[in-house]
Symmetry: C2
Subunit: 426 residues, 2 copies
Amino acid sequence: MTTLDILLFLVTQKDLPSNARATARLSLFDWMTCGLAGVDEPVAQAVRTTLAAEGGHPVAAVMGAQRLPPRAAAMANGTISHALDYDDTHFAHVGHLSVGVYPAALAAGEEMGASATDVLDAFLVGAEAAIRVGLHLGRAHYDRGFHQTATAGAFGATIAVARLYGLTPDQTRAAIGLCATRASGLKSQFGTMGKPLNAGIAAANGIECAAFARAGITSADDGLAGPQGFIPTHADAPEPAAAQSDRFLFPDIRYKLHACCHGTHAMIEALRPLAPAQIAALHLRTSPRWLTVCDIKEPRTGLEVKFSYAWLAAMVLAGMSTASDRAYTDALAMDAALAAVARRVTVTGDPTLTDMQAVAEITFASGEIRTSAHDLAAPIPHDVLAASLQAKAQALIGPRADMLWQAVAQIDRLSARDLGTLLVAS
Amino acid sequence: MTTLDILLFLVTQKDLPSNARATARLSLFDWMTCGLAGVDEPVAQAVRTTLAAEGGHPVAAVMGAQRLPPRAAAMANGTISHALDYDDTHFAHVGHLSVGVYPAALAAGEEMGASATDVLDAFLVGAEAAIRVGLHLGRAHYDRGFHQTATAGAFGATIAVARLYGLTPDQTRAAIGLCATRASGLKSQFGTMGKPLNAGIAAANGIECAAFARAGITSADDGLAGPQGFIPTHADAPEPAAAQSDRFLFPDIRYKLHACCHGTHAMIEALRPLAPAQIAALHLRTSPRWLTVCDIKEPRTGLEVKFSYAWLAAMVLAGMSTASDRAYTDALAMDAALAAVARRVTVTGDPTLTDMQAVAEITFASGEIRTSAHDLAAPIPHDVLAASLQAKAQALIGPRADMLWQAVAQIDRLSARDLGTLLVAS
């Protein structure tokens, strides 16, 4: 099957694998958590103000506001939920899946009066489509300067909406063709509000392209990989074979569980099972690429703590949570007890480690010595992951975490509109 | 100056050259004509239906409908006015300027309560910006498969709207950075409704990026030509020097005056001064590339007449108008008098001619022999062009042509809203 064939198959695929659906539930919970945690960010306020000024029928929920037309809601929610950059990542896709695809699926689901489960399934096939398009675009696409979250993400959003709109095969093909001429997104936005906006762009493109195709607008027969299609114009070394798989790739998705630099997460996971602990010394080995990123020896602010192996190690060994953005206060950088532990931490680069691995050699105060390693690529048991995501949500949004968890647990009884109602301003 | 500097300068440039403003008036007239002529096309209806379903504040006119929010109006009018593919072309830019830039300028002008002259000037600087970005992207961009009308056009639309919104220099820079991550458009849409939609996408992107920047959304410092900016990611052989010019390039714009294949226009212009005429023979020399395109010897339908040198020559020599799409009936292909003249026409390819040139050697019934040549690249005197565009408009939209012409003639007395009112359904 070509990648286009895979996308056309996914749109109406029945009997979606149960492990993938279970993971999609976790992504829904984590996506809503990140969104509610991000509603007061400046970029969230700016995008809401702009879109609310247009007005329109109140069809689809906007995080932290009221309802707007589906396209506007998708744009807003994609941006808002990526504002903290704390959402899920799929390393094969290369990008953030939930923030590009869930906003489109939820808005289209509300528009169509769909069930919450329909939204979940539409997200799942859309996310799988985005992964396959991302793999086909290949590393050369990312290296050229494109942001897969936005580009491959738009195709995923389009497939999710096409499923919920019940498009015919010809309409779906047109929607993909229109997405080819509409999808965009550059990495040059990193470090600016343009980065979260890229996720909103992906989601909005999904609504727009599927809606235009539903209204009868035609497009290229194979806008994806055909002549002058999206892939030949946007990838210097496409990898069509990489897009082939007999299984759903979506369950390989990974979640951020700590509100600090990604380069420190493997160390944190290696140390967590040992805490709380009194140590005499800690020697950390990590990928050399992180040494210039997150090895600040004496952080002066809460922000710098997020990039400090020594300080974060001290926090974990003291049993402190690293999950909430709000934990990283400037006072933390002045904490004498943490500083005392941090001084016993040494860090070296080890070129045999991937950038998802870390090894900690710990000498306890008792004299005992232990080695603890972690690889972020290793699968996490579903119940352990669920508990971690709940702890993250508690840290980010407090009691509302329980409300979201209960909703996702009983998703079979909810409508898309019920999900939306969890997100709007009360 | 870098291309970015040029764009930042254009946004607030005063004392725009009068010849360029006069030509921008012709483009306004021709753009509104093409739009009103296209309102009943299927793609026009589909885009209006989709956008009207969103609702929203009735701020900006939609051709053939009522008012919608500015972004939606820009999307609709860009698509509608390009539906007939009869609008202006700028060969250096490579693309259609008015359909990408005027819809954004008019919608933003209505939103801001601007004058019609403000809209005209905003279009002019936006169009000039689009030309410069198009030149910087270079031929390699077009050859890779991108559609400058949509890509460079989005930057032009952004600059036009930035001027009308009165953005600060920092906001304008952000708007350009956001356009870099938002602009898109592929030639693979040609032959489908996705082609006119590309013009709507350009216009809508202009409104969206300027509005987000106005609301405070930040972006890359140089999204255009900086690292992983639009040009390095979308052009294999950028030509920054080509974007430099001491004069406005906009007045080099060209207009379609005949509703038939572009390859026949040079012949039609060469013959028009001689008509009506009785001929014994006509020998046409044209660029060899057109022989496989528009040399149908015995057309069977009105559509085939549009691609028939012989038939079109007979029409022109009989004094018939070639300006209206509706002139090309199937009955025309059966006309015995035209057929008799067409049989006296011979065509050969001449590799010394460009694809904008034609040479006709005519033997009149009187025995007189004359040669008449035309080059579409040659400038046309303003009054001749104005008369031709009025004749085109009469053929396309009948008496409404006079109404539009009067409005453009007294543009100094009108508001942006007055212009919009000329376009909405009565």
